[in-house]
Symmetry: C2
Amino acid sequence: MALSELSERAQQLLKALTERYIRDGQPVGSRTLARDAGLQLSPATIRNVMADLEDLGLVRSPHTSAGRIPTVLGYRMFVDTLLTVQPLESRVVEVMKASLDGDDGSGKLVGSASELLSDVTRMAGIVSLPRSEHAALQRVEFIPLTQRKVLAILVVSNKEVQNSIIDTDRDYSASELQEVSNYLNAQFAGKELSDVRIRLVEELRETRESLNSMMQTALQMADQVLGTAEQGEDYVLAGQTNLLDFDELCNAGTMRQLFEAFNEKSHILKLLDQCVQGRGVQIFIGEESGYEMLDECSVVTAPYTVDGEILGVLGVIGPTRMAYERVIPIVDATARILSAALNLRK
Amino acid sequence: MALSELSERAQQLLKALTERYIRDGQPVGSRTLARDAGLQLSPATIRNVMADLEDLGLVRSPHTSAGRIPTVLGYRMFVDTLLTVQPLESRVVEVMKASLDGDDGSGKLVGSASELLSDVTRMAGIVSLPRSEHAALQRVEFIPLTQRKVLAILVVSNKEVQNSIIDTDRDYSASELQEVSNYLNAQFAGKELSDVRIRLVEELRETRESLNSMMQTALQMADQVLGTAEQGEDYVLAGQTNLLDFDELCNAGTMRQLFEAFNEKSHILKLLDQCVQGRGVQIFIGEESGYEMLDECSVVTAPYTVDGEILGVLGVIGPTRMAYERVIPIVDATARILSAALNLRK
DNA sequence: GCTGGCACTCTATCACCATGAGTGCCAAAC
DNA sequence: GTTTGGCACTCATGGTGATAGAGTGCCAGC
């Protein structure tokens, strides 16, 4: 029997079993399921079906005389085809909206979203910082420091400010730098960062022969600054400590790996990057993520957008045995709410 | 018998007991101690002495037929009067120096010091960010944003840059703001932030009657900016996850409280603040810190300085049962090394 | 194809016991 | 009077059955 042609009944049993196991963390036996699943079947029949499910790799038993628990494959089928997500009550959505309302400044919004996720789900909330590519450059300013160092300030989209110190090939006077920034502001203010980048390269090529070395350095500086501005991929995490409450994660090593991954960031970032692909809610169950430290965890993510453009990803990290039917709509809703909030402040 | 007049022998036994307990975490019995302490005494005699130590509150037994373990008071006496700290081998110091050398920019230095502490001690390293009070103000710059918002940029001591967005009572043109920053730079550039603050207040008083409202706002703006610049107390933590390896801390609740304290920061900051008082290495054992979440922990700190002026505090957080004789010189050395490094880059 | 029945397996729990580490106290020895 | 050996006592630990309970697989009958 192939996975695809799983009988209606088998599916229903897998669903009941998974729900039950998620609820109380104990392996589920045939007797329990006979009572619980709503089907009028004897335990014996259910045992037969469960044996099939086990052959298909959807469930397994920890030992001979224990009930069954879902495998990763079982969870996968559960969330893909069996899950009934109840939509969030509008009351809850209102509360969530409210808790994102108080803040202004996109930095804080992201932090609040992360805390919101962790508070509502009692797991770890994660929000990647919005990509700045499509933000508009508002102003560039250069301030001379000492010995061939210049402080460049980039004001992006009214809110975010980025500094970077750049090394120059010679000293520049304040008035020279003023000239540079005036030129750049005249040329590029109000344009999107990605646009700026492209036009910068063009200008560099065009003016190569022209003698104005001032402009040359201006462009080079700008290029340098933009480079540092765009690389800043990062995320905000909240409620890591909630994970300490799940005893299934509390093996000495597991938890440690997990926290180290949070500190290291690069792995988690790669994972979040993958989530930008699909439009809606994405779910990685256990080892599906491909990162060892997340073997015992599931990750539920959704992208958030401004003007239909994906700016970043948010989500929740918790044990494989999580209440998907609750978490999924929460992540979905939070993504929408954050998107809406960002659209407003645009 | 009072604490002060503890017999030579009793002291030696307390020392041996504490060292032994720190080494292998088991309650220490009279027989072990008889073998271990180097005194030619029978277990029975040692039992008598231990009973005295217990009466004085220096040791206790977890249950009737277990050996003794030091109390907080016992640890206190141990570190205060009994401890023999072996100085670090110069080879080790060299390695530590080297690991702080690669970096430049004080922000990174602090991070590296924190990692150094946690790596060498296998516990959590913590370094408070240097206070900026005594840093010199290099430049102030104002950039107009939109609708009554002005971006203020503070360049401090060549390295650190602080932004803050301030709300103004009306719109200012770029040239007005230029005028303001010119004035402030002329007046205050190169002065210490704390000086600036004082002179700012003076000027505000003096010019109150004079009509130049431009200058008034200039001063008010500067005041606002300085306020945000100085409040930025913070610290860098490294190796929290090392703490997960100590089973004595791995009670569900304890570890959670600890990590939440790390996230919250304010409590830890208060504790670090207290350490600025004493000049040298300070030690808080268990509940001595006064913070419940640190009841099972000890904190070893030392201030770091530039020009003899205390800039901040660094230290190590670990279980009460830590190898003080190793940790103390490490913390001490790290403080010296960081101080030296900061002095160089001044 | 479903079901009841039955033998079997494995875990969890409890009581029980022996062991060993350690204590406190006391009386004798130094 | 300090030290010591001896002794009775306590308590945690670890092993051993015995037992109960949950659950399974399989088979024969409906």
